[in-house]
Amino acid sequence: MWQRILALVHKEFLALLKDPKSRMVLIVPPLIQLLVFGYAATFDLKEVPYAVYNEDRGAASRDLLAAFHGAPSFSQVAELHSEGEIAPLVDARNALVVLHIGPRFSADLLAGNPAPLQVIIDGRNSNTAMISLNYVRSVVDSFNNDWIAARGLQGPPARLEMRAWFNPNLDSRWYFIPGIIGMLTLVVTMLVTALTVAREREQGTFDQLLVTPLRLGEILIGKTVPGFVIGIVQATLILLVATLWFKVPLLGSLPAFYVGLALFLLSGVGAGLLISSLAATQQQGLLGAFLFMVPAVILSGFATPIANMPQAVQTLTLIDPLRYFLIILRKVFLEGAGFDVLYNQLWPMAVIGAVTLMLAGWLFRHRMY
């Protein structure tokens, strides 16, 4: 029995890797994508392009503007001289933020009255808008604190001391790169599995397999192992790039990572084979791969947290294996988690893998075409 499985696995590998072009397809695009996406996927706003419309001639407004000027995350793109210039600038996306200082700003400030600072923000990208508003607020807050301290005024009775655990600099790259590992691994397993059975059916070799003494379980293992092994190799490569190139800290236990990866691959390969054995043609296989892959990525919590989704959609994410793997990746990388914390993520993937693989195996023989 082992010999038969080994022969099958050997054959699958030959079929996948014999041709240098198909080897390239499996190795090169994912690595390039990791590098490009690794840099692209970030919510961190490095530079807020802003414009100033200052109607005030006083020293206070110059001090405030100097604070913005000195802040590393702000870069001034224009100095405006009339209210009418604001709209075209923002509309054309040349400035994200416009600081509008009224003519009585310094006077109000010196008189002890609240001096209004009007901040216009381009809200088309709500996330960027929110972050830049936070940046503006922190500049203004520190200006206020200095002002209060310098003049010995009464400060607020309580102040916030904020800290972020696990990722003190709030570098969102650390959050996304582990996610990209999961996404690319999913894409590769789809590439390897989603079209295989459909292709063998179209070429007639699947019938040839079914009439040999190979058992369904053996064919299933033969079809599973290559996707599994390629996935492991792929993920390991990506892991190395992530830690050595992007310097994402890997705090948790490597065995926990690999157990999670193995179960995730099992469920991914299972889904791929299920799609493949349901499809009568390669075109249907491709369509199926997209219909699985796109929602799996979007609903995994990769870019937008699952907690923000409506309840019904949250329930739907329970059958998304990527959801569990992403949690494992993030916890292992950034929180140093071990098996104890991850148990709740591991078993659902095992269940998804078992169910899809069994269904796929059953369909091998029972799919009518």
Binding site: T205, V211, R215
Partner: protein, 581 residues
């Protein structure tokens, strides 16, 4: 003759690059084709027929030489040439999701047929092809023969001066084949069209006014088909021997000195000799009866090929295929009763019963859609039966343990091998898949390489093998584990006549050693090699008996010695009449 020739090729050479291997399809082909007649381009697969057709249609650029069609340079003036000729590729591009009428409309638009002329032309074509009742049917729902006729109609929508037909009769049942030929004959007679037609069926050569024999990219012979058979005059015989099965007699005779060809044909063995007398090795045998018969085109073709390759036929030994006695005592290894299979509302197999004994070669014959492939797939356990009972070696393979499947060998019509694996890798894989190991495994792989002469191709990708070798490899894989029962689904479609002979020698040798063989085919001639055969149509068996008996069913006063094709058409048409009544 060259002056008025409709197509002239001069020193035409074309080769292709696949990966890093260069294959030459045509070398220095020079020929000219007369207008107003049917010219046959005859040769096995890979002879260069399709390449020639595509060059003539301006779809390929030759490496050297030139081809002139209707007085125009086919390569340079491709668009002008394409506007004047009709070309029907091997797999005609019918849009299967369009109806018959929609396909016609599309090609009428593409060919620029004025609207006013369409009605009349459609009516004429539909009448000629007999498709008139089906204009609203999707092309994908037509039978193989009807598809070919529709393809032909689309090609003819604007009457071309030269019609190129690339293997129009492949995969078409005998009835439709006759109809296609009738259409072609009519076009030539009444419209004066010139036709160049390629085929791998040698019996079709005799219908052509002239034939061009193409082999391995070279013109082997060119002339009227009768000239080729006349050369064989006095060298063809019908031989039989009392008390000896024709199959064994054929095996004895084949490969003898001075024997060019030996074939089982109904109640006798057809013999082609090198000289005009029977060789001594034949006459010497006691009890032998021989009479001279009229030569056929095929005899001349085989003779030419054999002379080129030198020597006589390869003798297949198939040692080591001997099979232990089966468990069933009455010798029946395949038993089928009341077998039915439904696809939706349609009964593809509608009550089939037969039994096959050990060591028998049993043929399933039928048109496309007759239900033979469905029956076949149910026997192999690839498809569940809707009703009825079937057992192979005492078991239903669909539910049998994997060990039971080790007792059968299976070869499908597409030679389903892993195209991107080499010959050795395919052999290795199937040896392991059948659970062979250790010295037995090595021994069987060595046997396969030697027996099927695969050593020269060991490292070549199986997708790049010549068709004949693909078939050998497929058979080697199916026999790797010395199966008791062999399932062969249209095992010889498209392979050249020599390869087909070699293949049947192997089958015969296996049967002599007790292997049971179930084969489907629509080569009428191959049906004669079977011990018994069943003719199927519309999911039912019309007749089941020995070939001679079945042929006798069609015997009439006008046709005292009917061929298998006559018998087949007779049976199928009778059923159609009965259905209609």
């Amino acid at each position: 003759m060259t002056e008025d020739a409709i197509l002239v090729a001069e020193a035409l050479t074309k080769s292709f690059r696949v990966a890093d291997r260069v294959t030459t399809a045509l070398t220095g082909v020079s020929l000219s084709i007369r207008p107003g007649v049917v010219t046959g381009l005859i040769g096995p697969d890979g002879a260069g027929k399709t390449t020639f057709m595509r060059l003539a249609a301006g779809l390929l650029v030759p490496d050297a030489g030139r081809i002139t069609v209707l007085g125009l340079h086919a390569t340079r003036d491709a668009l002008a040439v394409q506007a004047m000729l009709g070309y029907m590729p091997q797999r005609f591009g019918l849009y299967e999701d369009l109806t018959v009428q929609e396909n016609l409309d599309l090609y009428a638009d593409l060919q620029g047929v004025p609207r006013g002329e369409r009605e009349a032309r459609y009516a004429e074509l539909m009448h000629m092809t007999g498709l008139a009742p089906f204009t609203r049917r999707l092309a994908g729902r037509l039978s193989g023969g009807m598809k070919q006729k529709l393809g032909l109609a689309c090609t003819l929508i604007r009457a071309p001066r030269l019609l190129l037909l690339d293997e129009p009769t492949v995969g078409v049942d005998p009835v439709s084949r006759r109809e296609l030929w009738a259409i072609i004959d009519r076009l030539v007679r009444s419209e004066g069209m010139s036709v160049l037609l390629s085929t791998a069926y040698l019996d079709e050569a005799e219908r052509c006014a002239e034939v061009i024999l193409l082999h391995e990219g070279k013109v082997l012979d060119h002339g009227p088909p009768s000239a080729m058979s006349e050369r064989m005059m006095g060298r063809t015989w019908a031989v039989s021997m009392a008390g000896k099965r024709n199959r064994d007699l054929q095996a004895d005779l084949d490969g003898q000195h001075d024997v060019v060809d030996a074939l089982v044909q109904g109640d006798h063995v057809r013999l082609v000799t090198a000289g005009r007398a029977l060789p001594e090795s034949v006459t010497r045998q006691a009890g032998i009866a021989a009479r001279e018969v009229a030569p056929r085109f095929e005899d001349g073709f085989i003779d030419l090929l054999r002379r080129r390759q030198g020597g006589t036929a390869h003798v297949a030994a198939m040692d080591g295929a001997a099979v232990p006695e089966g468990k069933s005592t009455d010798g029946v290894v395949i038993r089928v009763s009341g077998l039915r299979r439904r696809f939706g509302e349609f009964w593809a197999v509608d009550g089939v019963d037969f039994e096959i004994r050990r060591g028998e070669i049993f043929g399933l014959l039928g048109a496309n859609g007759a239900g033979k492939t469905t029956t076949f797939r149910m026997l192999c356990g690839l498809l569940p039966a809707s009703a009825g009972h079937l057992e192979v070696a005492g078991l239903d393979l669909r539910h049998a343990a994997s060990a039971a499947r080790a007792r059968i060998g299976y070869m499908s019509q597409k030679f389903s091998l892993y195209g991107n694996l080499s010959v050795t890798q395919n052999l290795d894989f199937f040896a392991s898949a059948y659970g062979l190991s250790g010295s037995l495994r090595k021994q069987r792989i060595d046997w396969a390489v030697t027996e099927f002469e695969l050593a020269a191709f060991a490292d070549q990708l199986s997708a790049e093998l010549p068709l004949g070798y693909k078939q050998r490899l497929a058979m080697a894989c199916a026999l790797m584990h010395s199966p008791e029962i062999l399932f062969l689904d249209e095992p010889t479609s498209g392979v050249d006549p020599l390869a087909r002979r070699e293949f049947w020698q192997r089958i015969n040798a296996l049967a002599r050693q007790g292997v049971t063989v179930l084969v489907t085919t629509h080569f009428m001639e191959e049906a004669e090699y079977c011990d018994r055969l069943a003719i199927m149509a519309l999911g039912r068996i019309l007749a089941m008996d020995e070939p001679t008996v079945i042929k006798a069913l069609a015997r009439t006063a006008a046709n005292p010695e009917p061929s298998m094709e006559d018998a087949f058409i007779h049976l199928v048409e009778d059923t159609a009449v009965a259905e209609a009544a």
